[in-house]
């Protein structure tokens, strides 16, 4: 063909393809989800993966139905580095602003992950009127208390995972059971020197004392402390039977390994013990992590049959990312995307105030139970029965596997004592 004819053929072909209707998802403007997360840390990347899994599933089924059109979700993740000790919160806030102003995020899901940063981000979200669903990290009760106190200002903020007070309640349910079964009475508490851990530890001490437990010690370790020998020895010398650990810093691995080596006759019962939540914990401690209990805050982060959706999520996550759901943040971020989709579809649009109203009316049977928000404080309503509300999970490492031992409604095993503790 001559050049001139070739050129006109090309022009005709291009025009032809431009007129052809493109696939429905590709033609519609995506709904942008902004995710400010600390991706170098477990709570950050677990949330990122949960979110992306949900977004991929929803987009594969066509997307979100808004005003008759199907629009896909798109996720923009910005690493806020807010869990790193040397980084100021203003960095995280700048990341949130970048998502809202520069990347034109329609909704914020996920973070910021550090309680301090999340609290500081609330006025920002209220200023820009962006709906935010917190799904990982932030455990402080101050978050939903602030929403309740100044509802009109902070009504855009939601939290879909359990918080510190829930965790305390769940722990005590287990303590009571252990007391009945094995006649345990001595409790030793070790906590990290951060606001939520310290607050929770003091709360545990108060409640335990009222319930008749003998609290033999409350040690608070600063972030970065690497020697817990004296604490452990004190626990041993005072015949503590349970050591309640509130630590999400990596040095907790030192504590647990030493516990195993010294064969301290006390059950390590942890809460948000980030090191122990991950599937890689077993190999990382050469099995010395056995018998460690930790609270992964929401079901779905460890295998159980809370609802029909739980294992579907569990297996989908494992298939997509090559590793099992890793800890706090995986299941909650996944559900947050679905809950948001549900609210957008009922609201019929992206208007923040309408979406807020619809989110308050959420009633979805999700991965970890029936998900509803408290209309005044925008905190997800917890329960011990998945049919009633959002269930948590406490797991224990047994023979290399994470076995869910609480709540009873979804447990796949029961608490075992290490061999050197058998009476």
């Amino acid at each position: 063909m001559k050049i001139k004819e070739l050129r006109s053929l090309v022009v005709l072909l291009v025009a032809f393809f431009m007129i052809l209707p493109a696939g429905p998802a590709a033609a519609e403007k995506p709904i942008v989800i902004g995710a400010p997360l600390s991706t170098a840390f477990l709570y950050g990347w677990a949330a990122e993966r949960g979110m992306k899994l949900a977004v991929d599933e929803i987009n594969a089924k066509g997307g979100v139905k808004v005003k008759g059109a199907m629009r896909p979700f798109s996720v923009v993740v910005i690493d806020t580095r807010d869990l790193e000790p040397g980084v100021p919160v203003s960095d995280a806030l700048l990341a949130v602003e970048k998502l809202i102003l520069d990347k034109k995020a329609d909704f914020i899901i996920g973070g910021p992950v550090r309680s301090e940063a999340a609290l500081a981000a609330m006025p920002l979200l209220s200023k820009y009127k962006k709906v935010s669903i917190l799904t990982t990290g932030v455990l402080t009760p101050a978050y939903h208390a602030t929403v309740e106190k100044e509802y009109d200002k902070f009504k855009y903020c939601f939290r879909i995972h359990g918080e510190a007070k829930n965790l305390v309640g769940e722990i005590f349910a287990n303590f009571d059971e252990l007391k009945e079964l094995y006649k345990f009475n001595n409790l030793f508490i070790i906590s990290q020197d951060v606001s939520h851990a310290r607050g929770a530890a003091n709360l545990v001490k108060d409640i335990a004392t009222k319930k008749g437990w003998n609290v033999t010690g409350l040690e608070i370790y600063p972030t970065g402390a690497s020697d817990f020998s004296m604490g452990l020895l004190k626990a041993k010398n005072t015949q503590a039977e349970i050591i309640n650990i509130w630590m999400d810093m990596p040095e907790s691995a030192i504590l647990l390994k030493q516990w195993y080596d010294l064969k301290i006759p006390a059950l390590p019962f942890g809460s948000t013990l980030a090191a122990a939540e991950q599937p890689g914990f077993w190999k990382a401690t050469d099995g010395k992590g056995e018998y460690t209990l930790c609270n992964v805050v929401n079901a779905g982060n460890a295998p159980s049959e809370a609802t029909p959706w739980t294992m579907k999520f569990y297996n989908a996550y494992t298939q997509k990312w090559g590793v099992e759901p890793e800890g706090l943040g995986s299941s909650s971020s996944y559900m947050a995307v679905y809950v948001l989709k549900d609210a957008i579809e009922r609201a019929g649009g992206l208007d923040s105030v309408k979406v807020v109203t619809e989110l308050e009316k959420t009633d979805v049977m999700g991965v970890y139970g029936r998900l509803r928000f408290n209309p005044k404080s925008h905190q997800v309503i917890p329960a011990t029965d998945p049919k009633e509300g959002a269930v948590g999970s406490i797991l224990q490492w047994q023979a290399g596997k994470r076995v869910v031992v609480y709540p009873k409604s979804i447990a796949t095993g029961s608490i075992q004592l290490p061999p050197w503790m058998k009476k």
Binding site: P85, G86, P222, M230, Q258, D261, T285, D286
Partner: protein, 288 residues
Amino acid sequence: MEILIYGTINSAALALYALGFAMVYGVSRLPNFAHGALFVLSGFMTWYFLNSLELNYFISIILTLIATGVIGALIYQFILIRIRGMEISEIMATYAMGLAILEGLRWGGFKGMTYTLPAFISGSVDVFGVSVDYQRLLVVVIGGAVVGLLWLFTHYTRMGLALRGMAQDERAALMLGIDSDRMALVAMAFGSSLAALAAICLLPLGNIVVEAGYNVLILAIAVCIVGGLGSWMGAVLAAFLIGFAQILTVVYLGAHFQMVVALLAIIVTLIIRPSGLFGRQKELEERV
């Protein structure tokens, strides 16, 4: 009794952290702010040799010690040698390097809490009625051995004597024909290997995380200042001082204040006796 044993263990750990920094500063007046980064880097290197290349543990350790020493020497030869003598630049350059290494490790995927090294020996034993695990006992043994070997090295071998001479008086050493740059290179290589040794002994107690780099740096500097910048024996003594102070604080005051002790020690030292316990920088005694 427990205080004595665990105090000694804590002190040995601190001494291991600090010796590398003290050696480099003592010989060449170079504050190596990349010390913590080298610590973490060698930990991850051993992990890599052990797990990804599936080498024998012992061989991985030897390889890491050599590799870290080489890295230290390279850092000196290509970067630090050009800014030697300019204090501000040295501090900033080594700090920037430490930052680059640590953040580079994080970007390279070494994040999370699942990277660990296996302990040399597992299990525990009762010493005078106090149970201690073997790895911690080994820390004390290795720490003691290192200090002893260092003493022998710097008193009885040519290279060691040269390093010591350099540390005592640079001009006199130069007059005797000891090459300042070569000694600084050797000191840097040694200091880095010492950091690697500390990593190998202490990391099996827990896991390897990038944040440990910053903590190690602070502790090493604290110990060296209290002991006197530039004095090796001073660093060891200061390690004992701070180590026991920390353990006593934990037992009697509360674990709360552990980190504050180290920082307080620095400030107290600077107010009362700026050159530290054994510091030989007499100019500092003259307050300006």
